[in-house]
Symmetry: D2
């Protein structure tokens, strides 16, 4: 299979840096363009990026010249790590110009003709793309999106429950990592010896995005699922890894063992297709009393799995558990790459 030339929009930002890192030596995608805001454009990536992931920028990217975010990049697909205040129109311009846009930004997630994709959960939502292209006259271009970092890990745990037992209610309290706020993000004086019990816009995303993702594609539109979600979102002093305490009410009765089995055996199309970024097990179920923990479990399956632990009955709803996932890998850049890999493997990129 041929390699696809890809570009990264917002390459100097926190999510952009993860794209640069995760796409090093990718078997299908070759990074041929790095784009960022005008004050970075024209300079070498290694000089302009304030690299925060590890000691050094990957060698392949160091001497690439940053370009402006205009749709004349030498590539066929772009990964967008753009901030929400600029992502909307720029991503549309790229799609209009024929680029496939795999976006981590929230701007188009609720457009009725844009798939909000988690490949293990709703790969068939890609079938809305012909509608999108027809609606918008995009030609071979298109926009696909991945959900919010807290949502992705939540739906990976909810989907097997929905399929097996039906879902009625979900009450989730998150303890989210600092990297989710980008850089510079949360001031250290607000974070040290403290918890901030509020993240702007986050609760709304966690309460609505899963319903679209777990909804049904029918007659050219996605009908949201009908269960309800209540989310409390908190910012805690961890670098990476969102922890979520979840209580669920199921539609049908299920034993604790059945719930555990259904979670632990969950797999989807990415596992079947052996996509390069796909975790072998999208949901890891642990038996210890005190797991998952952010520092120990966030890198499981190279940051692409959701770890579930402490599964037990809930006195108010039916069952409760704790889940954890890496917020900037599976929760952001890794998710957008997996989405693109799904398109590639399905043949949706054959036209490029």
């Amino acid at each position: 299979m041929k390699r696809i030339k890809v570009g990264i929009l917002g390459a100097t930002g926190a999510v952009g840096q993860r794209f640069v890192q995760l796409l090093e030596n990718h078997p299908w995608f070759e990074v041929t363009a790095l784009a960022a805001s005008d004050n970075s454009a024209g300079r070498l990536y290694g000089k302009v990026v304030h690299w925060r992931i590890s000691a050094d920028v990957p060698a392949y990217a160091r001497d690439m010249r940053v370009q402006p975010c205009t749709p004349d990049l030498d590539c066929d697909l772009v990964f967008s790590g753009l901030p929400a205040d600029v992502a909307g129109p720029i991503e549309e311009q790229f799609a209009q110009a024929g680029y496939v846009v795999s976006s981590n930004a929230r701007n188009h997630r609720f457009d009725t003709d844009v798939p909000l994709l988690v490949p293990e959960v709703n790969p068939h939502h890609l079938d809305i793309l012909p509608v999108q292209r027809r609606n918008r006259g995009y030609g071979r271009g298109c926009i696909i999106t991945n959900p919010n970092c807290s949502t992705i890990h939540l739906v990976l745990a909810l989907k097997p429950l929905q399929d097996a037992f039906g879902l009625d209610k979900v009450l989730v309290t998150t303890m989210q990592a600092l990297s989710g706020a980008g850089y510079p993000g949360v001031p250290s004086l607000d974070s040290l010896d403290n918890v901030i019990p509020f993240i702007g816009g986050e609760e709304e995303k966690v309460e609505t995005e899963p319903l679209k993702i777990m909804g049904v594609l029918a007659s050219d539109q996605i009908r949201p699922a009908s269960f309800v979600i209540s989310a409390h979102c908190n910012r805690v002093a961890t670098i990476d890894g969102h922890l979520e305490c979840v209580s669920v009410a199921l539609t049908n009765r299920a034993s604790l063992d059945e719930v555990r089995t259904v979670l632990a055996s969950f797999a989807g199309l990415p596992q079947k297709l052996k996509l390069p970024m796909a975790p072998e097990h999208p949901v890891l179920v642990r038996q210890e009393t005190d797991r998952p923990q952010p520092r120990l479990d966030r890198d499981s399956e190279r940051g692409m799995a959701t770890t579930v632990g402490r599964l037990r009955p809930c006195k108010v709803l039916d069952y409760r558990f704790v889940l954890l996932g890496h917020n900037t890998i599976r929760g952001a850049a890794g998710a957008a790459i997996l989405n693109a890999e799904l398109m590639y493997a399905r043949g949706d990129l054959a036209q490029l």
Copy 2:
């Protein structure tokens, strides 16, 4: 009114240190005895304690000689900060010997004839003491207890709701401070850049203690309240201050404004009696979007109040909010002192 001589059991431990600190210059109680385990006994308190609250041990305590925890201390009332593995029988020996025991330990909290006291919530549960004395032949001695640190703050917020609207269900997720685990407590390698989603025995306490506290004393016994509680308990990297995300289902309809008013106007007997440790407002309701926060709000009302914020409707139950309280002041030593002050002001210590 005469001053009461008091002793502190477990005076060198984390809770014991708080007793020593909070009882400095107390208007009613004079510390005349410090007791601890055998390997401290006989030495000067200032030499033997590993003081962790501030730079220095209060001057009054520095040169007091630590005594063993045997019921021959020169005092009439003892505050017990003993660890649970030894508190049970020692506290009984003291009560048997005629001491009033105000305990922070969990051992006797569920004895049917022992009040589990939060003075704003169930001061009349003290009326079980004649039963206790009769049952146990305690003479003028007795045992009273305060709840777990997470429980106290939760019931301060639940009580006004129960009184005004009735309570059906409570789902709470806690983010608890490190000091709650005592010293040495949580290893730093488990806490830095991490959250531990489990605290041994804590969820059971939070799910059961409020039912006894908010229950009804009738015909010589306490009938527990009948609502249900589900608790997820987590340890986060804060020094002091337990944060709790709470969702509640009420028995009767109530508007958001009614709920807010009922919380903000809550007061009880300690406020009426102007007890020395009592907060002016046991529940502080804040309007900011991002409060309460541990580092900013834990010391409100000298650590004796519960701060409630982010009050809003819940999509799964009826309302949700965030609460915060100091876990070693109102949640431990301050609670036991307030309990003793209540007895003093009611005349329950007149026999001493």
Copy 3:
């Protein structure tokens, strides 16, 4: 003695907030004006400040209306917590208009006719003020400054050594708290599980300011002291309290006991005059093997003392020790207030 009306410039910033806090109920100074940048001016202080010290703004300041930083405030003395990029000319305008300016900003610290004051160390440097007024035509106005937060605590420990034994060389490595960088200051992603081995401009300040402070005022100018200082400055994850590892070479021989005695018995004019903000002991010497520690010792003497510990011989220079002081109290706002108190007690404010 009459009360002086004082204003606070930069009242909404991190240092400004400390001024507001520390001046509550001050016996000599009454806050009659709060001034800040134009986008705060005209609004109530309690509404516009992002208060980060504790739960609530002191009651006296809450409903004061913030004014612009122009020299028409209803007061006679101003405390300046202005950032360095604007402090220079604004402070001069106030002095020109007849205000006494006690500044925490670095801008005028090295003006040859401006005292860089630590009241225990160089109170007589105030005698340069007539020169300043003559040079600048200030009338009754003037500018006095306090040093950098790391410098103040260092000179409190160095001064008794200089006086008793003479000083040749000082090598200091600092571990400075986050609050020293202001708010928002250091991003949490740079601080958690990390140390930043660089603070812009800090090493230069620590290497030069002590020489002016410990210099000699002679014939209308301050001749800097002649020893040398080398400083490594690091930012660590503490809220408040700068820790400094110091090695010194003395001019004359001294025994360890002599050094300890000289440090522990140090006192100056503020102690003699019993200034309201003055610590009883400006230098506290501790004997424990593992002290001072930021969280335990920073609040000693209400944040106004320097704590010295681990005094011992140095294999490369003569002696070494660890010191700690509160960086936003004694290291900033408290220092500027103590400076003004010194002027008040000396009669330097009698003309106001």
Copy 4:
């Protein structure tokens, strides 16, 4: 070349876990025995270890049965991660029984016939082994040791300076990571919002070990180097990575450029022999103003390099710089493995 069977003593401890991790898939060494204290012996490693490095124990070790630390293990070489209170005699028993012992414990570091080895610095100190064997009647067994975690990184930076310019004086202040204290190690209440300015025994090690390592082997003994070191050691809130602020006085004049060049071009026998654990560059010199930083730089060269930054003149000695290294990889387990690799490559293990 044949593979060597190796065992790990103290395999369940913090350093032992690093041995287990780093020896997975080693090209020359095959782990055939895991040994630990008696209460672990007899159980499966995966069941008994409290694994703290990442989510899961390496697959190869999970089902190995832990054995007691007695010299009847099925292997020829043992890596010792034993704690100092038991390491001394156990290591001697193994050497006596014919095992090569590569130890991270401090017990034998100053035995006159035991090499204290840093392969880039003093590989020829291995030539003392015949003396050791003769002295102790060890047969083919022997003991080699690696230095303290702070020492190793310091000598990697000092050695090229000593060789090129001669060394007179070194003044170092360390900021050491929590993992250096083992597990449970430092209580979180001592670490959060705090620095501990003392680490028991550490300053003595840092002041003496480099002198043996950088000393001369002559006529069957190691004559220590003659420069002097003064060390201040602090514990800060980082997981891994010791940071050190170093000032040095050189014997001969050198320009800043010469110093930088000598550091950056340093290489030794491990690089020449391309030992599997050897970093390509043992000393990485960075030019940024604010590096090295623990979280960003500790994993450079798979944790086996020392990163030097902020090289500049010192006002008290000649030059100063900041260095950082991973304390449990290059500073402990990785060091002991590199030592064994050096022996293997030199042919010193041919007799096994």
